[in-house]
Every structure is written in C-alpha cells, then in structure tokens.
Amino acid sequence: MDPVLPLYTRNGNDGGSYSSSEWVATGNGDGGVAYRNSEETERDNLLTVQVPAGNGEMTLSGHEVEAQRNLANTHTPREISATSRVKRELSEIVFCRVRLWMVIISIFVLIVVVIIISMVVCSAIHEDPDEKFDPSLFKVPLFFNGSFQLSNMAFEEEHSTLNYSSDALTADLQEKLADIYRSSPALGRYFSKAEIHVLRNSSVIADYHLTFLMPEEQQDQLRNFTLSREMVYNVFRQFLYDQEPDSSELLYIDPLSLNMS
C-alpha cells in the first residue's frame, strides 16, 4: 500500500499546481497582450522547443512554464487533465470567434456533403451507353416481308354500313405497324418504314413490307440477334397476343395468321 499512496498524493498535487497555472494562463490576458507586442514571439517558440531538451534549467516566463507542463502532461496518463486539455485545445480560437472544434466538425460535414453531391451528380449525369446512337450512321437497309389477316374485317364489311376505304385502311395499318416497331426498345432505333398492301377477297389479307436501317459496323451481329427474323417477327407477334382476344375492334389481327418470310 505504501508505494501507492504517495503516488496518489503526488498526482493530486500536480493536478492542483496544474490548475493554478491554468488560472495564470487564462487570467494573464494582459501579459499575453504585452508579450505579443514585443519581438520575443519567435524566440519564445524556439525556447519552448528547446525546453524539453534543456531540461528546464532556463528561466522561463509564466506561459512558457505552462507550455512545458503541457508537454510533460501528455506523457502522464491522467484522465482528468487529459480530457480538460483536449477540451481546452478544442475550444482554442483559430480566428475571430471560430473555435477549433467548429473547424473540425465543419470539415467532416464538408466531406459528407461532397460525397453525397458527387454521388447525386454521378447518377444524374449517368449516361446509359445503350441510349446513345447516331441515326445518321444507319445506312444499310434490311427488309422483312410477310402477311396477316384482319379477321374482324370481313365480317364487318358484310354487316355494317361503315365504309372503310382501302386507302384509309392501308394508312391505318401502316401507322399501327410503325407504332409497334417504333416503340420497341431494341428495334425502334433501326426501324425505317412499314408498307402495307391490302388484298380483299373473301377475307382481308394484308401484305406488309418492313424496312430497317443498320449501321455498317457490327452488321453481322445485328443481323443475327437484334435484327434477326426471330426478333422482328416475335415483337409483332407478342404485340398481337397482347391484344384483347375477344376484341371486336376492326383492326384486330389474328396472331395465328401472322407470318414472316
């Protein structure tokens, strides 16, 4: 027990002496101003650096003693003095009324804000490489032909007074076909035009003629995949399946009648 107790008391003493020097430091506002006016500032700093090496034999002004104590304190693991020192250092005035802790917090806030802004900007300016294309490069034509049947049309002609002229029907069908392909995410950009020839006999059969334009590069890949017969045909076919099956609409196209060569 004996060696421990003196240690405690010494600690207490040190704390006491330390707090008194603190008083000196804060209460010495005038002295601080006075010494700031003198030319000794630089030398003071030099001295403080040299003090630990010189082992404190020099005569020092009050605030220098304080500084030295500080250095000594950093090496003694005492909690109270450490936290109060950190507190004091944090509330040190950097300039005007801005204290150190404010500076530190604002740096952190700034980092977070920068990260968030950059992420927002990145996702906002993100360009989908698949949405970029130059239609002027699409020159190589590709044709698809086929036919389909308008199953509601024959019925309508017999029983209704509606007179659907051949030209109007052709135009409407052409528009419908063009819409299908233009709205297609994969094929839309290559689509050029759709032509329709309506044949009327017992039922209404329409021949269609589709034109696509592709870029010269990657022609083969496009021909084999995106602009393959399977794709062009099935985009049309699945559109027809999506129609209401019991539709009495005039332009209803029977999905089973669709073919493409």
């Binding site: 992420m119 990145c122 996702s123 993100h126 989908d128 490489p129 698949d130 297609s184 995410p185 994969a186 094929l187 890949q221 084999n224 995949f225 995106t226 393959s228 017969r229 399977e230 794709m231 045909y233 099935n234 985009v235 076919r237 699945q238 399946y241 999506d242």
Partner: protein, 451 residues
C-alpha cells in the same frame, strides 16, 4: 373364500383378453434415464396391415408365436437414432402407417431407446454395434424361417443408419435395401467403411443428407446420395441458437419429414446429379439424358425405379431444393436470358408466375448473375409451387447497389422452360428491366430458336 375359486380363472381370462388387445408401445423414457444412462435392450414392434396402428412386441427367438408375422411378405425395419431426452421419435406412428399404406409389408420398429437414451453420445455410439449384432441375429432367424434377405429394407435415421450399415455388413451385403436418413456424422466421419454405413452393406443404398455441417455425415455413403438444399441449412429451420433446441435438431429431423412426404406422395422432388451444390444452383446440372425416359431420379421411397441405372453408374451425388414447410417440393424452370446492353450487367433476378390469383415466386440470388451482350445466360429458377398454366410472368432485376445509377437490363429474349412437363417453353421478347421495378407481361409460346 370359495368365491376365489371362480374368480381367479375369470380374472385370468380377462387379463388374457386384455393382453391381446393392448398394443405394445415404443419405450418412453425421460431425461432422468438419459442422464443416468441406459444399457442396451432391443424391442421389436411389429405392425402389419392387419394391425396397422397397434404394435406387437416380437419375440427374438420364437418367430412362430406371431401368426401375423408372415415371412412371405417383405419386411421393412425402421431404426431410430440417438435419443438424448429418451422420448419416442415423433415419426414412429407416421412411418408405419405410410409404409403399410404403400406396400403390404411387415413393418418392424426397432426400439433401442434403452441404449440410445444417454446424455453420453459416445455410449450411444458404442451401443450401435450391440444393437446391430442383436438385429443381425434376428434377421438370420427370419432367414431360417424362410424370409428372403433381398426383400428386407432397413430404414435408419442418424445412428440408426449406421446400425443398418453394420447389420448389412454382418449379412455380407445381401440385404435388399438400406435407406439412410441423415446418417450421423460425429464419431463416424473419416472412419473406415467397415466402421460406418457404406454402399457395400446392401444391394442398394440410398442416403439423404440434411445436416452435413453439424449432426449429419458430409461425404456420400450410398449408391445414390441426396443432398437436400445442399445438405447444410434447411429452409424454415432457425438460424440462431435463440430459437432453443430446434436450432440443433431441425436440420437433422428434416430428413425424416422429407422421406415421410415422399411416402405420402404429396409431390415429387426431382434430384439432379451434380458435382457441387453451387453448380446445381447455377443450372449446370439440368441434363437428365443419362437416365433415359424416366428422367432424373425422384427423391424418396420410390427411388428403386432408378435402381438398375444407379447401380450401373456406381455412386451418384444428387441435389434438390425444398420449400420451408410441407409440401416441400419445388417446381423448376430453366430460364434463358439474352440481353443487348453494350456493357456486362450483374445482378439478381426474381421471377413470379401468376395463375388465377395464385403466385409462385423464385428468387435467383445465390450469387450475382452475369449478363453479357448476345450471350445466353442460363438460370435455374425454383418456384415454391407448381403453376399448372402460366398466365402472366413478373420479372424484377436488382443488383444490390444503393448509390449507383439505376441500370437497365435490356432483354432481347427471355425463355422459361418447365423441367418436368414436356410443354412448349414460354417466351417474351424485347423488354427492358429497370432495376428494382417489377415488369409483368403475358408470355407467348416460343418459336424455334435460330439465334
């Protein structure tokens, strides 16, 4: 006093009648017995179609004492495993009932609860050899009375699986079939084949693994080994110890539940031969051509349909997945996706199938999937229920990135092929899947592909 002269025979007759009518039950012990430790004693309880729910305690020596024990019928033994609490296994009633429902057999429940109920697992392991010796002697006696070894089927759970193996080895592998339900791993892993179950112990050995990372045996042991959900963690089982005792036994016990369901014929779980579970999940093992018209083996009691081909193949390691609760079987689809995005895309896919208000969901998220332009990505989608006819399909693409811009998966064609039914695959062409946004559509029958 003379009254006793009349009463005594009357009481004796009454006792005799009661004795005939009472059923012999599985030994019910408690934790106290297990704590003190029990020494081996084996009871054989016979159930037949004549007395399906009422067990008869068989004499080890005098087989002719039981007229209902007809040796012309095949005999199935059910052998339980380690009983740390001494309670009777919950499945005893179910398994006898279902075995008798499926086939006219003698079902013998091997009750070695005295011996298996012991807090000291090592003691129970020691007792397996004694139990096996006892059972071997009984089967030899059956053989003397005209039973054929090839008509004997041993179903062993956990330690019971190894008992079956020892019995089979004692009889030089002449036994017809051994079914091992999650054979015990501790004290058996890494031992020589004669110290555990192996495929030489019977003419045909089928094994189910459900807990290879704890109580079960990791390596294949039979002619065919089924690994349910990879053999490790079973869906629906607790993930943490906070759920109490079921955390330890749920995975292990699932093996019996799965087998009972196969006996019940609720639904069929197709098992795919594969080198590893991750290969299986990747959909690289969906080819069943080597099994001919029968297709890949179906897990469970009816695996004997594949016996000949499996014996020819030697050792087959197969995988299947299950749902969280009964009905356990899943319905599989092969999903092929081709995209036209310039850049490679990574992510997970959730597929939903709709049919008149019912919905089946499959989430393919065992790893991040790679999608590459004009290359078909094959996925294996397993749905929690079978949809007879698909009216609509929903797809959702996600890649787990929170801060990155929302990518789009630009699909040229997606094709769903049912793995069981030989029906035309379902297709959808030209769709854009935006991240985390579900797209629902009506699929159309696929055309012959010429991509």
């Amino acid at each position: 006093m003379f009254l006793w002269q009349y009463l005594t025979p009357l009481l004796l007759i009454a006792a005799q009648i009661c004795k005939v009518q009472t059923c012999d039950e599985f030994t019910d012990l408690n934790f106290g017995h297990a704590f003190i430790g029990t020494s081996i004693s084996i009871r054989l309880l016979l159930y037949t179609r004549e007395n399906g729910t009422c067990g008869t305690l068989l004499s080890h020596t005098n087989l002719s004492a039981h007229p209902q024990f007809k040796l012309s019928r095949p005999t199935t033994f059910a052998i339980h495993g380690y009983r740390p609490t001494g309670s009777p296994p919950v499945w005893v009633g179910n398994i006898t009932e279902l075995l008798l429902y499926r086939k006219d057999v003698n079902v013998i429940v091997v009750d070695w609860n005295h011996g298996a109920a012991n807090v000291n697992y090592f003691k129970a392991v020691e007792n397996t050899h004694k139990a096996a010796a006892n059972l071997t002697a009984f089967i030899k006696r059956m053989q003397e009375h005209g039973a054929s070894l090839s008509s004997i089927h041993l179903i062993g759970v956990s330690l019971g699986a190894h008992i079956s193996g020892f019995v089979g080895a004692n009889l030089n592998g002449a036994i017809g079939r051994i079914t091992a339900l999650d054979p015990a791993g501790p004290q058996f892993t890494g031992t020589a084949p004669e110290d555990r179950l192996d495929s030489k112990d019977a003419q045909f050995v089928d094994v189910l693994h459900t807990d290879i990372d704890a109580l079960g045996f990791r390596e294949p042991l039979g002619h065919i080994d089924f690994y349910a959900n990879g053999g490790t963690d079973q869906p629906g089982c607790p993930k943490t110890i906070f759920s109490g005792g079921s955390y330890f036994k749920c995975d292990h016990q699932r093996s019996v539940l799965l087998y009972l369901e196969s006996l019940n014929q609720t639904c069929a779980s197709r098992a795919f031969p594969c080198s590893s579970y991750s290969e299986f999940l990747d959909g690289n093992c969906l080819n069943c051509d080597r099994f001919g018209a029968a297709g890949c083996p179906v897990f469970g009691y009816d695996i004997t349909m594949w016996k000949d081909i499996l014996l020819k193949l030697g050792h087959t390691k197969t995988y299947f997945t299950t749902t969280t609760k009964s009905p356990f079987c899943m319905s599989g689809y092969r999903v092929d996706v081709m995209i036209w995005n310039k850049d490679i895309r990574w992510g997970y896919i959730t597929v939903k199938l709709h049919y008149k208000g019912t919905e089946a969901v499959a989430t393919i998220d065992h790893k991040s999937l790679k999608f590459q332009k004009y290359t078909e990505t094959r996925l294996f989608a397993q749905f929690d229920k079978d949809i007879p006819s698909v009216h609509k399909v929903s797809l959702k693409f996600s890649n787990g990135n929170v801060f990155k811009p929302k990518y789009k998966l630009r699909v040229l064609r997606i094709r769903l092929t049912h793995l069981e039914r030989k029906e035309r695959p379902l297709c959808r062409y030209d769709i854009v899947l935006e991240e985390k946004r579900e797209v629902t559509f009506r699929p159309i029958p696929c055309e012959e592909s010429n991509f």
